[in-house]
Amino acid sequence: MASKAKSRWADDEEDALREAQLKREKEEKKRLKAEKARKLEAERKTREAAAAAQQEQPPQPQPQESPNGPPPKRRRVSPEQQETHNGAPPEEPTTTNLLRFTPGTISRSRSVENYDKLNDIEEGAYGWVSRARCLSTSKIVALKRLKTDPKDRSGLPVTGLREIQILRNSSHRNIVPLLEVVVSDSTTPLEPSIFLVLEFLEHDLKSILEDMPEPFLASEVKTLMLQLCSGVAYLHDNWILHRDLKTSNLLLNNRGQLKIADFGMSRYVGDPPPKLTQLVVTLWYRAPELLLGATTYGSAIDIWSVGCIFGELLAREPLLQGRNEVDELTRIFELCGLPSEESWPSFRRLPNARGLRLPNNPTPGSTNSRIRTKFPLLTSAGVGLFNGLLALDPERRPAAREVLEHEYFRQDPKPKQEAMFPTFPSKAGQERRRKRETPNAPVRGQKAADLGAVDFSGIFAGREKEERGGGFALRMV
């Protein structure tokens, strides 16, 4: 082989094939000779080998996706061929089925003039959103204009570019699809207007919750949570942290389908996790490790937000409405219990934990979660899930994939079919602006709050008095 290293590749292939064929014939003869002597033995071996091979070959369409450990070589041109052909010429290569991509094209952004603006929907921290109609297809879309600052000498905002990149690479039924990116016809290149063309969904969960006369049914909460967690699991599988999950970023269409939107804070991460800014996630949905100044964190911060959203879906109002970082932390400890060596062994090592004064002799139960008493209508599986999502220790929060398998979703009432969801009057579809009451996600470059010295020793002073029953509730299904 080495001597032919320089020969023309095509010839070489034919040579190789011929050689391989000869070799196969030789081997075949040898095998037949030895067969009589070892017939039983060989049979047993082949049977075992076949079973092993089957185990080794999980249904994997792309061999590229098995980076760990060398998979059996020649997976497609399988070794069985050698036996079945018995020296006959190998099958025509045309029968091989190769994976073919449909490549995208390289092209310029189209102009925003291809869309007709209908009405404004909302203004967020990272851009304005309006409803628009595509002139050529009459399709209704949401146009999100990136906020750019011509005076910003670092150019286009990196958050916006990341959002575009992540949305472009993502494709999942619970992630809002990015249809294209269009630009204004402005001739001055330094004042760019960039618009993300997104699928239009009628509602965001925040507005629905505010206007609902009655809370979601348990079956509806389950469907929403399953969709949310399936989207989050997809993101985490693809090394994306959303970092701003909240009800106003969760869109819902009139067919009961939930989609995660607003990736202005999201980014790709690696393993080991890179050093990241702690200035992420809207305060009310921010995990305790972020409040305590962690700079290495992971997907567990999104799971905490999912827990806050779960509470909000059940109670129709945000779960932990802190006025500032310290107040937020107080409310977290009030709900989830004070952190202890047992519930969160590593919390003392976080930068902002040094200033915390916790009671020396905690009253019994002060480290326990109060979720059970606050949500008396929830089944114990539901409480179990809730406590898991809002575990103080990020290590103990379940992964989004695990949440999908949770007992809670298998219990009655079963998750409601999406198509059976009630419809709501759409604010976004009307000539009306959405109310914004949730605080916004933190802005890049802000200074992270230093909690300073905070005294939590008194937060459970009057707790016993608050314990009370669930009262009446008639709608449980």
Binding site: P70, P71, R76, T105, R108, R168
Partner: protein, 319 residues
Amino acid sequence: MTMAHMKNPLATPDQIFHRSSLDSPPTELRDAIFFSTQCLTQAAGILLQLPQSVTAQANVLLARFWLIEPIMSHEFSDVSAATLYTVAKIGPCPCTPRDLSNVYAYLLSSSSTFLSPPGNNPPKNIPDDYYQSETSYQAFHSRILSLEHLILCSLSFDTTVSLPHPLAITYLQSMDFLYVPKEKITRRVVEYLNTALLSPQLLCLTTQPNGLAVAAIYNAAKDLGAKMPECEWWEVFDVDREDLGFLVVGMRSLEGWVGGMMGEEGVLGKKKRGGMITRKEVRDILGGDRPPQEEEEDPEVVMARRMDEKMREIEGDAA
């Protein structure tokens, strides 16, 4: 890994063909500009201490950009800097405009050895050559920002580049590194892949990463005399034989092509001091003593001839 991380948008045959009509210099000159600019990006990436994954993505974005925008519409070195800046910014290792400006000023100065002919003595280091005044820095910075916007608009903000390198490593692992020392063959494979980025044949715009990875492994194995599986192993990685043949030759032919271009008769070899080619130089070449317009050869014919020559060469060696 999703599909989005394994495939790239590709150039259409129409786009490749129309490159020559976009008010562009003749093919030979255009290819020389392309090669020099890609090398400049690589050199800047090294000086800025960016990972090769970032620099390589910038190479691909630049190739895509010149598919859309005429090559002569902006200074080549500015386009190189702007693509590098944009890719670095989105990725994990952003670089500051100041560093960028310093590095490019140095590489374009006569103190740098960038693309200087191999026989030349190293140039004298004259720091004043690459000192950046505040005005020139500001001007550079503004050019980069407006180019950033233009590049992104030209590419529909699609900045994702799937590089063949990780796939190649995975393939090598699955083939037990063809039973030769891991470091040796991996190094050779990566060399082929990095060289392919510089190829004016635009291999990275016409082939999906799996094809490039397989071709690089094939070439590296040939170079090292490693034993490849005796079957159509490339089909396991979804590459057909014809594409592989084309890529193998395409990757191998680059060295000879660069040699010719840097040689005495080559476009870059004629520049005595070496260094980065500029738009002004190109205009001078075109305007000054414009050589009698050659019959523009069909690019396919040229390609076929190049392949034939290469074949003969390889066969000659073997004989």
